[in-house]
Amino acid sequence: MPLINFAAREINYKIVYYGCGLCGKTTNLQYIHRKINPEARGKLVSIATEEERTLYFDFLPLTLGTVKGMQTRFHLYTVPGQSYYNASRKLVLQGIDGIIFVADSQISRLDENVESYLNLWDNLLGQGDDLGKVGFVIQMNKRDLGDVFSVEDLNDLLNHTGSPVTEASAITGQGVFETLKVVCKQVIAKTG
């Protein structure tokens, strides 16, 4: 559901990082904020608890520049991962163009990943959106840690749509921009 302002020559896409608590959604945004050209990004806004857990969302606007005469922006959001914040997650999902599902690759986090993945699809189906027009990527995060699922196993467990998968370690930055690029290209292809 991009906002296309032909009169002002602007197009804005909304992309949401989704996943269970402590899977690395905010870390993705913080890395992008640190590393990208400062002229291409706005302020990183975080609504978090005193313990720096996301309470509502993080927000980071990125500007791609002028493409074919259109000022093109991506608005990146995270959701709060803890299960009891579902009302907030539903609000952040409104008007999305793309989703990055951040999976914690650690074997010990399987239950949380599955719960979050099911919760995502519950919320998306509840919104009544045409999901064929939403970009979707699964980022297998924390690949740098030991005791993690293989990519194949995690893909079998979490990727019922056969969506693109990336491997990442958001804390070191590995795969962060690759994931973002995949979903950005998807949303442009799907929504125009």
């Binding site: 050209n37 520049g65 259109m70 442009i188 125009g192």
Partner: protein, 161 residues
């Protein structure tokens, strides 16, 4: 079932919105006005001197408004149609134009909330017609090469990181 509807603004709509915001600014004595989408993206603004960071403001205001709507549901109220934040120097008034657009007004001590509220309500009626009335202007098509050009721009932006 599928209600995925993008918000597309054409020249006629934007000109009309700009006119309405400018008039509202003048009659209400407010300092900064913006039309934003309910998903948190700015559409257009009106201001003489005061320019807050519009992207963050739009994102936070839309999210707060969405939360307010959910609070109404929990309280068994059909809807809360506006959100008002009162500060020492600046006040923020957010109201709903339609299911895709919000009107955001900031104002200081030089005017009164009642005045802003009254004129905002009148402006919303006209804005609503602008977005919901028959569209006599063809919406332009996106450039056919937009997708590949955007891909190149992304490759450039992410190349050195």
């Amino acid at each position: 079932m599928t209600r995925r509807k993008g918000l597309v603004i054409n020249d006629r709509q934007l000109d009309r919105c700009d006119d309405i915001l400018k008039k509202l600014k003048d009659v209400s004595g407010s300092s900064f006005l913006a039309l934003i989408s309910t998903s948190g993206q700015p559409i257009t603004t009106a201001s003489d001197e005061y320019h807050p960071e519009t992207l963050s403001l739009a994102s936070l205001a839309a999210s707060s408004f969405a939360a307010t709507q959910q609070l109404a549901k929990i309280l068994d109220e059909s809807e809360f149609t506006l959100l008002f934040n009162e500060g020492k120097g600046i006040n923020l008034h957010v109201s709903q134009v339609n299911d895709q657009v919000l009107l955001l007004v900031t104002f200081g001590r030089e005017t009164q909330v009642g005045k802003v509220r009254l004129y905002s309500q009148r402006a919303i009626e006209v804005l609503r017609e602008t977005f919901e009335g028959p569209d006599d202007t063809m919406t332009p098509e996106m450039d056919a090469d937009f997708e590949s050009a955007a891909g190149d721009a992304m490759d450039d932006l992410f190349r050195d990181v």
